[in-house]
């Protein structure tokens, strides 16, 4: 009895193990998938943070997908639930089996037999161990499941089975989630990557934009479009792949579901069948033990019927069991006698209806004579009618019996129709042996030992029906069972007609009879629904792809449009700029055109004033003249501004003297400053070279503008102080060589009032240049030839309001631009100054404090000129300077800066200077040193005002060789009277101090050299300048020629005329006797420029020859260096760009028709020096 039990337990364990490993396998797969996802997630994490917005987008997509997935997953869950329910049911079954066993044993123990009981106990122990094994193996997979399984204890107690399988569901759901996640991440990567690529495109486009290359950007656009198409194609491919992938997954899962369900059913059927078979086997052993093993037999029909009836629950599949005794022919009579009935033959025509219930054995014929009979002697109540029927007489049964006794195992008949139920059935037959045979007994031994046969009939359809009924989801699948012993003609044992619904699962069934083969076919009842999940997912991807594609397409179009607009804007900008230049040019031209008639107006007014006019008329005329002058000045400024703006103003590069320029500026403002009572002074650092190369007129213009500005805003007191230094001097703070700079800069630190020119407080001038960028960064390479000059104009005026300081350099902007403003002017001066400074490679800045004053500073860059061979106006003073060289002077002035200014001017004249602060110390100076040493004593008016008594006394004590000079802003009659009344002599020097004034004063007063009047050349007229000079006039226009000739002749020149450039070149071939040439610019054939160039070329050749000694100077009229001054004559001043004239070798130009002033200044340049 233990033998089959063990087999059964083994089967149970195996099936469980199989299941668990299946579960494990699933778990493994899902965890693998999760692992596979990990790196993907990690990769995306970085992007996720960067693209938070996109994440939100993805989230939205995810939500959409979650919804669509939900239904799918839910449905899946249902299926899975079904499957797991089946599983649990099977478990329940297994437990029930054990329970049945116990029951059986219990029934067995009715029989009073100790051995059986002990066996049963042993069996029980086995049973317990089996259970233990079950729980152990269930413990393995998962804690949760363990809990579930613990909950199965009541099942063991025989209560209704109810097993939930949520944990299994969970696992499966997780697997699904894994797939979903995979899809999500794929989508996410796609979504993230595409904007990045888009950004990249944008950046590329931006770079392209920077390059301004139209064609490149266009190709970039094309490139972007290609990329876009690629992107869309990728998206479409991805969505197709996704569809395929998901669909495949669904198919696979469906298949798996079917397989598992089918397996389960098959196994269950098989198990049930086997269980029944075992019971039949057990019954056979029972019969062998109690029927044959006892004498007399312990079992009779009654006992057997009752026992089998009571244990029929163990064989739920059998309709009935019976036992047929083996009766050989020679035993028949004895047997029939013993039992009181004859052995009956089975009806041949009802061969297939064995065990039919209503078959009355009484009606049957006795069995014909045969070797052996197998009359049924014992039977279950349900089949008691077959008692006495010879089983060997039925064809199927006979075959069965023979096979059963030969093999010792249960054998099955092929299915045939059972009579009563009209169902297909099979009969299971076991042989009962008289002795306990070993496992390896031969068929002969077995046949010999056979004493009887135990048969059981199975109703297959009801069996299967019952079985399947217990399982869940019987609605979803269709099960067919076939007997396939004969493969070509399989016999259907159960199930409806097969309808093809796609998937088919075939499981072979083993009912313990190796000669018979059975199969189970499973199908889904319905065809698979469309794979909505896959469709939705791929549809989503497709939609997103197209959406993104559309967005990018729009973006690309937008970029292209913007680029197009940008190009358009650029073109418009260029046009606007061109228009601006044109405007400036127009302004320049118009200004010039206005200037011409204005000159007429002014000239006429001048002439009018020279006529006999009464006072009133003269006043009117003067006013008109002054207004005209203001107007022409304004026009000139506008012209300048316009010229600078239109880029037509180019700087000259001629040598000039800085000191002279500053003196000129002072001269032009001297009257005004004297009127206003403002002290005006200039100081030039002696570190500066005397001569630099640059544009003197523009330089002067800048300073003039600044000084005029200062003068305008300074009232009645204070000073305007112009100082010029090297930019380097200011930057080298530790090593300041210049005294005045030291005083100013240190003074501004200590803020002492006496450290300024007039004693009034000033602003810190350092601040005015602290924003200069290039003040310090002078490169050493250019230092040798370039020189950077810092000019500072300091005033004690009203200052500039803070609010207006930012727009002070804007043209036509004034600090106070209200109609009721105090100060006039156009506000163009500073703007021009700034532009000029810019042209001169410098910077301008200012510092201003309302109430204190302003300081303007600017730097300009000039070229150094090493040699001093300069023909400037200064040279007219040269004589005078020589006259005073070596003299000594004493300056009495307590103010440091003022005294430095005075010293600067005197030093320029070659006079050495001593300084003292008052008359007393001066007295001691005089007595200490050689008194005859001082040729002049210079006293500031301020000192005289303070101690005039001392002054008079001091003056009285002076020797006749020493003269006293009073430096005063204006000649004060009070002091004059004072001195006169004391019968003394003192000379007044009017401030602002400048070289010319000092020289003239000194010349008048000091008895040095000859007292001839020097420097009267300025008054000399054109007649003196041109008299006797031979001048060549070149003009193709006869009238012009005649006029020029007449004009020049009037000034005493000897004029020769030629009418073409060619003739002029001929005439001016060295040697010639012309002093100068006036040349028309516009001439046919050879114009003025070309002629000049040719002349210069010839001259340079000649000069070379003379220099190298090839020809003697005698050949060329004893002139060592040929350079005939050539002046251009032009009617059109604005068109005559003087630099063009200079470039081709001309020395200057005069306007046509001649204007006396201009002609003089032009001619003076080269005649005076000669």
């Amino acid at each position: 009895m233990s033998f089959p039990q063990e087999i059964q337990v083994g089967v149970v364990i195996m099936s469980l193990n199989c299941k668990i490993s299946g579960l494990n396998g699933r778990l493994l797969t899902s965890s693998k998938m999760r692992k596979a996802n990990k790196p993907l997630r990690g990769f995306n994490n970085g992007w996720k943070w960067k693209r938070l917005v996109l994440f939100v987008l993805v989230l939205l997509v995810a939500v959409g997908f979650g919804l669509s997935w939900f239904s799918g997953v839910f449905r899946k869950k249902m299926e899975i639930t079904g499957t797991s329910e089946d599983n649990s049911l099977e478990l329940v079954k297994q437990f029930n089996v054990s329970k049945d066993l116990l029951h059986e044993l219990a029934s067995s123990s009715f029989e009073p037999d100790q051995i059986t009981t002990s066996k049963c106990t042993k069996q029980l122990g086995n049973e317990m161990s089996t259970k233990h094994e079950i729980s152990c193996s269930l413990n393995k997979p998962d804690h949760e499941q363990n809990v579930e399984m613990l909950g199965q204890c009541p099942i063991h107690d025989g209560k209704a089975p109810s097993v939930r399988s949520s944990s299994i569901n969970g696992t499966l759901a997780r697997e699904h989630n894994g797939i979903i996640k995979g899809c999500m991440w794929a989508l996410f990567v796609l979504v993230v990557c595409s904007p990045i690529s888009c950004l990249w495109i944008n950046r590329k486009a931006k770079m392209k934009k920077k390059e301004h290359a139209q064609s490149v950007s266009r190709s970039a656009g094309r490139w972007m479009k290609k990329l876009l198409v690629l992107f869309v194609l990728t998206g479409v491919t991805l969505s197709i792949w996704l569809f395929w992938y998901l669909n495949e997954g669904i198919q696979l899962r469906r298949k798996e579901t079917l397989a598992s369900m089918c397996d389960e059913r098959a196994r269950m059927l098989q198990d049930q069948f086997n269980v029944s078979m075992n019971h039949v086997h057990a019954l056979a052993i029972l019969v062998s033990t109690f029927y044959h093993g006892k004498q007399p037999p312990a079992i009779d029909q009654k006992t057997f019927g009752e026992y089998t009836e009571r244990t029929s629950f163990e064989r739920p599949l059998t309709t009935g069991v019976s036992y047929a005794l083996r009766v050989r022919h020679f035993e028949r009579e004895k047997f029939e006698k013993e039992h009181g009935w004859t052995i009956k033959k089975m009806e041949t025509e009802d061969q297939d209806q064995t065990l039919a219930q209503d078959c009355d054995p009484q009606n049957l014929d006795p069995s014909p004579i045969q070797d052996e009979y197998a009359p049924v002697i014992l039977s279950q109540e349900t089949v008691s009618h077959i008692v006495s029927i010879d089983m060997m007489s039925g064809k199927e049964d006979r075959g069965n019996i023979l096979r059963a006794r030969a093999s010792g195992k249960g054998v099955l008949t092929s299915p045939f129709k059972l009579l009563k139920s009209n169902h297909l059935g099979v009969v299971l037959t076991f042989a009962v042996y008289s002795t306990h045979l070993p496992q390896d007994a031969t068929p002969e031994q077995r046949i010999k030992a056979t004493v009887g046969y135990l048969g059981a009939s199975y109703d297959v359809p009801s069996l299967v029906e019952k079985l399947l009924h217990q399982l869940a989801s019987k609605q979803t699948i269709v099960v067919n069972v076939y007997d396939t012993t004969n493969i070509s003609a399989a016999i259907k044992m159960y199930g409806p007609d097969e309808i093809d619904t796609g998937l088919l699962r075939i499981n072979s069934l083993d009912f313990g009879d190796p000669t018979r083969k059975h199969e189970m076919h499973c199908r889904f009842k319905q065809r698979p629904p469309p794979p909505w999940t896959a469709i939705l997912a791929s549809g989503g991807v497709l939609t997103i792809t197209f959406l993104l594609g559309h967005i990018f397409y729009a973006a690309i179009n937008r970029i292209a449009a913007v680029e197009r607009d940008y190009r358009k804007m650029m073109a418009l900008k260029h046009r606007a700029e061109a228009a601006d230049v044109a405007k400036s040019q127009f302004l320049a031209t118009v200004s010039h055109e206005i200037r011409t008639p204005m000159n007429g107006v002014l000239g006429m007014l001048q002439m009018l004033m020279d006529t006999n006019l009464d006072v009133k008329q003269l006043d009117f005329a003067q006013t008109a003249h002054a207004s005209g002058k203001v107007l022409i000045k304004l026009i000139n400024e506008v012209l300048d501004q316009a010229k600078i703006e239109s880029g037509r103003l180019e700087l000259e590069a001629v040598p000039f003297e800085l000191h002279t320029i500053l003196d000129d500026v002072l001269s032009s403002f001297s009257t005004k400053s004297q009127e206003k009572g403002i002290e005006l002074a200039v100081y030039v650092s002696n570190h500066l070279p005397e001569v630099v190369v640059g544009d003197p007129a523009r330089f002067k213009k800048i300073i003039t503008n600044l000084v005029a500005n200062s003068l305008k805003f300074t009232h009645d007191r204070g000073h305007i102080f112009v100082s010029v230094h090297l930019a380097d001097e200011v930057t080298r703070e530790n090593d300041m060589k210049d005294d005045i700079l030291k005083k100013i800069l240190n003074g501004s630190k200590s803020n002492l009032a006496r450290d300024t020119l007039s004693g009034l407080p000033v602003v810190d001038r350092k601040k005015s240049w602290e924003n200069f960028k290039k003040l310090r960064g002078e490169d050493s390479i250019n230092e040798s030839e370039k020189i950077k000059i810092l000019v500072t104009v300091e005033d004690t005026g009203v200052g500039i309001p803070i609010s207006a300081q930012s727009r002070i350099f804007m043209p036509f902007m004034q600090a106070d631009s209200s109609p009721s403003r105090t100060y006039g002017g156009t506000g163009i001066g500073l703007s021009i100054s700034k532009r000029l400074v810019g042209l001169m490679d410098g910077e301008i800045g200012f510092v201003s404090e309302p109430g204190t004053g302003s300081t303007f500073s600017f730097t300009v860059v000039f070229m150094r000129k090493e040699t001093r061979s300069l023909d400037t106006v200064l040279q007219q003073n040269h004589q005078a300077i020589l006259e005073f060289r070596g003299l000594r002077a004493l300056v009495i002035d307590p103010k440091d800066i003022r005294v430095e200014v005075t010293r600067y001017h005197l030093q320029r004249m070659g006079i050495s200077v001593e300084i003292t602060s008052n008359f007393d110390s001066a007295q001691s100076y005089l007595s200490a040193s050689n008194s005859s040493g001082f040729a002049a004593i210079l006293v500031d008016q301020e000192v005289w005002d303070q101690e005039n008594e001392n002054g008079l006394a001091f003056l009285r004590g002076l020797k006749s060789s020493t003269k006293l000079f009073l430096l005063a802003n204006s000649v004060s009659s009070k002091i004059q009277d004072e001195i006169k009344s004391a019968n003394l002599v003192a000379t007044f020097v009017e401030k602002p101090l400048r070289l010319s004034v000092l020289i003239s004063c000194f010349q008048k007063t000091l008895p040095v050299g000859n007292n001839r009047v020097v420097a009267t050349r300025k008054q000399s007229n054109l007649g003196n300048l041109l008299r006797g000079k031979r001048i060549l006039v070149v003009d193709d226009n006869i009238v012009n020629r005649r006029v020029a000739e007449g004009a020049l002749k009037k000034y005493g020149a000897i004029v020769t005329c030629v009418n073409s450039g060619k003739a002029a070149v001929e005439k001016l071939k060295p040697p010639h006797s012309f002093h100068a040439c006036f040349m028309d610019l516009q001439m046919p054939e050879v114009d003025g420029f070309e002629a000049t160039r040719q002349i210069r070329r010839i001259e340079s050749v000649v000069n070379e020859q003379i220099k190298s000694g090839e020809v003697s100077t005698e050949t060329y009229g004893k002139v060592g260096h040929w350079h005939t001054p050539i002046l251009a004559m032009t009617a059109d001043v604005i068109r005559a760009r003087d630099e063009e004239c200079i470039k081709c070798g001309m020395d200057g130009y005069v306007s046509k028709p001649f204007e006396e002033e201009q002609l003089y200044s032009a001619a003076a340049c080269f005649f005076e020096s000669g």
């Binding site: 002439m607 006869i1038 009238v1039 007449g1046 002749k1049 009037k1050 046509k1152």
Partner: protein, 152 residues
């Protein structure tokens, strides 16, 4: 002497009217100032030179503008000459027309050029008659034994 002074007054009036009406400008005054004992007929000489030159230029211009393909460079140089000489003697209106003429020339506007030539001729003849009248007046004064008054 009364006749002389009358002539002189007539001369002054006439000259002033010439200035006022814009036929002459400052340059003519300068020209007159250049005339002195050493150079007694300077003004007449220069002006006659101008007349000769102008006749020639006007003819040249007329021919140049009648060509099938007008050489504007040539026309321009003629006009430039004309402008130079007219401005030298102070024939202001002629100069102004010349400036216009050159603008048309630059624009290669044949109609404008022809119109300007017409105008130029007109202005030239006008200034010529005016100046001839002036010189006649001057001659009359000199013949009458008076001196030509100097204009300021």
């Amino acid at each position: 002497m009364a006749a002389v002074s009358q002539l002189q007054r007539q001369f002054i009036d006439y000259t002033t009217s010439l200035y006022n009406e814009g036929y002459l400008d400052d340059q003519f005054t300068q020209l007159q100032q250049l005339q002195d004992e050493s150079n007694p007929d300077f003004v007449v000489e220069v002006v006659s030179l101008f007349f000769e030159d102008s006749e020639k230029l006007l003819n040249n211009l007329a021919t140049a503008l009648q060509q099938k393909s007008v050489d504007y460079n040539q026309v321009d140089s003629h006009v430039h000459q004309f402008k130079g000489s007219s401005s030298s003697i102070g024939a202001k209106q002629v100069t102004n027309v010349c400036i216009h003429f050159r603008n048309f020339c630059e624009a290669k506007n044949l109609d404008g050029c022809l119109r300007c030539l017409q105008q130029l001729r007109h202005e030239y003849i006008l200034v010529r008659t005016k100046l001839e009248a002036l010189f006649r007046l001057e001659q009359q004064i000199l013949q009458a034994g008076g001196s030509v008054p100097v204009m300021e």
